[in-house]
């Protein structure tokens, strides 16, 4: 019977899952994060939201789009809008160069690119270490972050970015 096969598999899966959990290290909530910089500030975003990183090619600005939208690019046959977080977070502006990269972030309903000055890499980070952002932080920024790591890296809230009514232009 299919059903009993399934049950056996299920039991085994549960058993295996438990073993891994036991042998898991001291990290309470380790997660892969993609780290990048904007000006000198380091930011991190959960890797599961970041599907691709690429150099910026020719961006086509869209007249009438909000200022934080740098424009659109074509990437693998798909039109992707690029968001300049520096504008969104009201940080200092700097012109884009060929060294800029974009990170495509996505959830099931939405995707867009965010522009980064440089990519640090993918790091395992303990999400439990995140501290709440200080009150002094710019309001435009605090709306989209989960907090700050002890090393000063700001953790972005990808889900908030992807579902924000400010960002999704209808």
């Amino acid at each position: 019977m299919v059903k009993s096969d399934r049950e056996i598999l299920k039991e085994r899966a549960v058993r295996n899952a438990l073993i891994i959990k036991e042998s898991g290290g001291s990290m309470a909530e380790p997660a892969d994060t993609l780290e990048f910089t904007l000006l000198k500030q380091r930011f991190a975003i959960e890797s599961r939201y970041a599907s691709e990183v690429h150099f910026i090619r020719e961006i086509t600005p869209i007249p009438g789009a909000p200022s934080f939208v740098s424009g659109v690019i074509i990437h693998r046959g798909r039109i992707v809008s690029l968001i300049n977080l520096r504008t969104l977070f009201k940080m200092k502006e700097r012109g884009l160069t060929e060294l800029n990269k974009f990170i495509i972030i996505s959830n099931k309903d939405n995707y867009f690119g965010i522009i980064a000055d440089s990519i640090t890499g993918i790091l395992k980070k303990d999400l439990a270490e995140i501290m709440p952002p200080p009150d002094t932080i710019e309001q435009h920024l605090s709306a989209y972050i989960t907090g700050i790591f002890p090393d000063g890296v700001i953790m972005l809230d990808a889900e908030k970015l992807l579902t924000s009514q400010e960002i999704i232009i209808k």
Partner: protein
């Protein structure tokens, strides 16, 4: 864990399947109910009841399979009612019909709740109780009416007991024998699917759309081929060369063949995606019925030509406009029964929909009613009241002019606003949506006799043709259908009326003149703007509005597909999407409808002619820079840098391209990369220096090469400056350019 996940996704998939299936059954049941109301021949009725009975039965089984007890119970109740109807044990009273319709509404909500995030709280329990109650009542009624009416009373009694028996067995079948019937049903399904498979393959439409959209991307290949052909032809004009000539000839024939292949492929895939109107109209009769009840109107609704096929995407977009038009017919068109009788009409109003396929791959939909017609005075008054029309202009308007006013927003023919219509927004949206699909809408109306709306649409979404223009340094695509003409006029021909600049056409008409970039909110770049004696105007028209837009340059006409800008940019005012031209360049496509509206909304965008001419006093010495760079990234970056410094920039992809551009146009300075295919920067510099007419153009070489030897080579070739890319900064380049021009 894994197993669990698989189970979940399997269940999700199942639920998805159920949703699709249940909607089909639901729509079929609704259609059946409406047909029952219309058809009075016993045989037809019996057919319909049989069909609906099977639908309720299948849906019940499916609901049980995915463990949705509420839907299952509701369907089971519905099934038993149709069971009684089938056997003639109860009759279909209008009261029963109403309750059945309500039950179907509940069913629809239950099905929708499966997918929607916002759950509408609804319980099938009360509905089921209502249904059971009315069945009980009907059964009793039937007994009491059939009893005395039958001549042979004993036979009547016999029948009665038979009814009871059969109804009891029906009940046990539903409750006790459920497993059996479930299995049987699965068998039937399997067999049906098998039979189906012999003739067709079931593919999710999403998949087909993916294939279609991918194949539509081939259109970019067509335009790219065309672009390269033109490049080669330009070279050939200047350097006659037999080999090149033969190459171009081959390219042209290849271009022809591949264009035809691509067109055929796209047409074929589009045709597989055609679907017929019946999917859309399955929901409409119920809507008509519900609304006519609500408004106490008697309406007979007839559709002809449902089998006509049309692109599914058009059909989806057509849904809202059509529903709006039909609602309009019910609310505005058809009078109340009393009014109809008073004006000597039949009590029941008619709404007819006729769908026809025209010869040229077009589909025509005519929606007509025999109601009151559109009251032209109301339209006029509404237009004047809402400022759409000046009172002075109203006098000499023809009937057609007045009717076309209903498509302007803010105009309504109705004096009172109701919840479904009369706000004067709807018709303008209808007209806009239809024109966005490449269609048109016309109205004819006769007071007291009715109105008729005729929509003509392409059968498939047509590839769009657009005019590529440049305005303040930006490339923009204007769909050709809106372009009335492009003209170059002398500046003197533009005059002023009030605070508007206008131009008098040959026809004597006066058109407003605006700068395209101003309306689109593209930042003015005073340094860049190049005012010449002649001005290029693009006259755009939509819904009888015409505006002349100032553009800097009309590049040419292109074919393409409008793509949306991704889920983050769902809507941008005045922009319909983007299209891809030539070698992968993205160009925004202007939504002309909104553009014209935006123009009239902000009167300040009507540029005064004075401001235009004062531009003349600004330095007319806008310099042109030619940027030669093979890397797309660096090319566009350089272009932005140099443009933002106030120069007019043209780009070339390599030395050869640059050289051919130099032949046809004048530049004040060249910024060139060194390492490029076909002709490198050194050779380009040499060639430029050899030519008499450009020998004095400053040349700046920008390169990754850092050795002193290269710099020496550059100087020898005749370059004026040499910038190393690795140490290269924006200001550095601009400063260097400023030194020369």
């Amino acid at each position: 864990m894994l197993n669990n996940y698989d189970n979940d996704s399997f269940l999700k998939e199942l639920l998805n399947d159920f949703r699709v299936e249940s909607i089909e059954h639901y729509e079929s049941i609704v259609k059946g109910l409406l047909d029952l109301e219309k058809n009075d021949t016993a045989i037809k009725r019996q057919d319909i009841i049989e069909r609906v009975y099977r639908d309720t039965h299948s849906l019940k089984g499916a609901a049980r399979a995915v463990n949705l007890p509420e839907i299952e119970r509701l369907c089971s109740t519905l099934e038993s009612i149709f069971g009684y109807l089938k056997k003639g044990e109860i009759t279909l009273s209008s009261q029963l019909l109403d309750i059945l319709h309500k039950a179907l509404d509940v069913l629809k909500i239950l099905i929708d709740n499966l997918s929607d995030n916002k759950q509408i709280k609804v319980s099938a329990n009360s509905t089921i109780k209502n249904l059971e109650y009315i069945v009980k009542l009907s059964l009793q009624q039937n007994k009491s009416t059939t009893g005395p009416e039958t001549k042979n009373s004993s036979r009547g009694n016999q029948q009665e007991s038979l009814h009871q028996e059969s109804s009891e067995s029906e009940v046990t079948d539903i409750n006790g024998g459920s497993e059996n019937s479930g299995e049987k049903e699965v068998e039937i399904h399997d067999r049906e699917i098998e039979k189906h498979d012999l003739y067709s393959v079931r593919i999710p439409t999403g998949h087909l759309h993916q294939i279609l959209s991918e194949s539509e991307d081939f259109i970019a290949i067509k335009t790219t081929l065309d672009y390269y052909r033109r490049c080669l032809e330009n070279i050939h004009v200047k350097h006659k060369d037999e080999e090149l000539y033969n190459l171009i000839k081959d390219l042209i024939s290849f271009q022809k063949v591949s264009s035809r292949m691509i067109d055929d492929l796209i047409i074929n895939i589009r045709e597989t995606l055609l679907s017929n109107f019946s999917t859309l109209f399955r929901i409409v009769p119920k809507m008509v019925r519900d609304l006519s009840r609500e408004y106490s109107k008697e309406i007979s609704f007839n559709i002809k030509g449902e089998e006509t096929e049309i692109d599914r995407r058009i059909l989806e977009d057509l849904k809202d406009p059509l529903i709006h038009l039909i609602r309009n017919c019910i609310d505005h068109g058809i009078e109340t029964p009393q009014e109809r009788v008073d004006s000597g009409k039949e009590l029941t109003g008619r709404i007819d929909i006729l769908i026809e396929k025209l010869i040229d791959r077009k589909v025509r939909i005519t929606i007509s009613d025999d109601g009151a017609g559109i009251n032209l005075d109301n339209v006029l008054n509404s237009a004047i009241k809402n400022g759409v029309l000046g009172a002075a202009n109203a006098d000499n308007m023809s009937k057609d002019d007045i009717i076309s006013l209903i498509f302007k927003s803010g105009v309504s023919s109705k004096k009172f606003v109701t919840d479904i219509s009369g706000r004067g927004l709807g018709m303008s949206i209808v007209a806009e949506k239809i024109s966005n699909m490449g269609g048109s809408i016309e109205v004819t109306t006769e007071e007291g006799k009715g109105s008729s709306f005729t929509i003509t649409l392409p059968q498939t979404i047509s590839t769009f043709r657009g005019v590529l223009v440049e305005s303040d340094g930006r490339s923009l695509m204007i769909p050709s259908v809106y372009v009335e003409k492009a003209v170059r006029v002398s500046k003197d021909m533009i005059g002023n009326i009030g605070d508007k600049s206008v131009i008098k056409c040959v026809t004597g008409e006066t058109l407003g003149v605006v700068r395209l970039s101003t309306v689109l909110g593209i930042e003015k770049n005073v340094g860049v703007r190049n005012e010449r004696e002649t001005i290029t105007l693009l006259i755009l028209t939509n819904n009888n509005k015409r505006v002349a837009f100032i553009t800097d340059k009309i590049v040419g006409e292109y074919e393409g597909i409008v793509k949306d800008m991704g889920p983050q940019l769902k809507y941008v005012r005045n922009i319909a999407g983007v299209t891809i031209i030539e070698n992968g360049r993205i160009v925004p496509v202007v939504n002309v409808n909104e553009l014209i509206e935006s123009t009239s909304e902000k009167s300040e965008s009507y540029e005064r002619f004075q401001t235009l001419s004062t531009q003349d006093n600004l330095p007319d010495n806008q310099k042109r820079v030619l940027i030669v760079e093979d890397s797309l990234t660096i090319r566009s970056m350089l272009k932005n840098f140099v443009e933002s410094a106030g120069y007019d920039v043209m780009t070339a992809v390599d030395g050869l391209d640059a050289f051919s551009k130099l032949e046809s146009e004048n530049f004040d300075l060249i910024v060139s990369d060194i390492e490029m295919p076909r002709m490198n920067g050194f050779d380009l510099t040499k060639k430029v220096r050899q030519k008499k007419e450009n020998s004095d153009i400053p040349v700046i070489l920008v390169t990754a090469l850092e050795s002193a030897g290269d710099m020496k080579r550059g100087m020898e070739a005749g370059a004026d400056a040499y910038i190393i890319k690795s140490s290269f900064e924006k200001s550095n380049l601009i400063e260097t350019i400023r030194r020369f021009i």
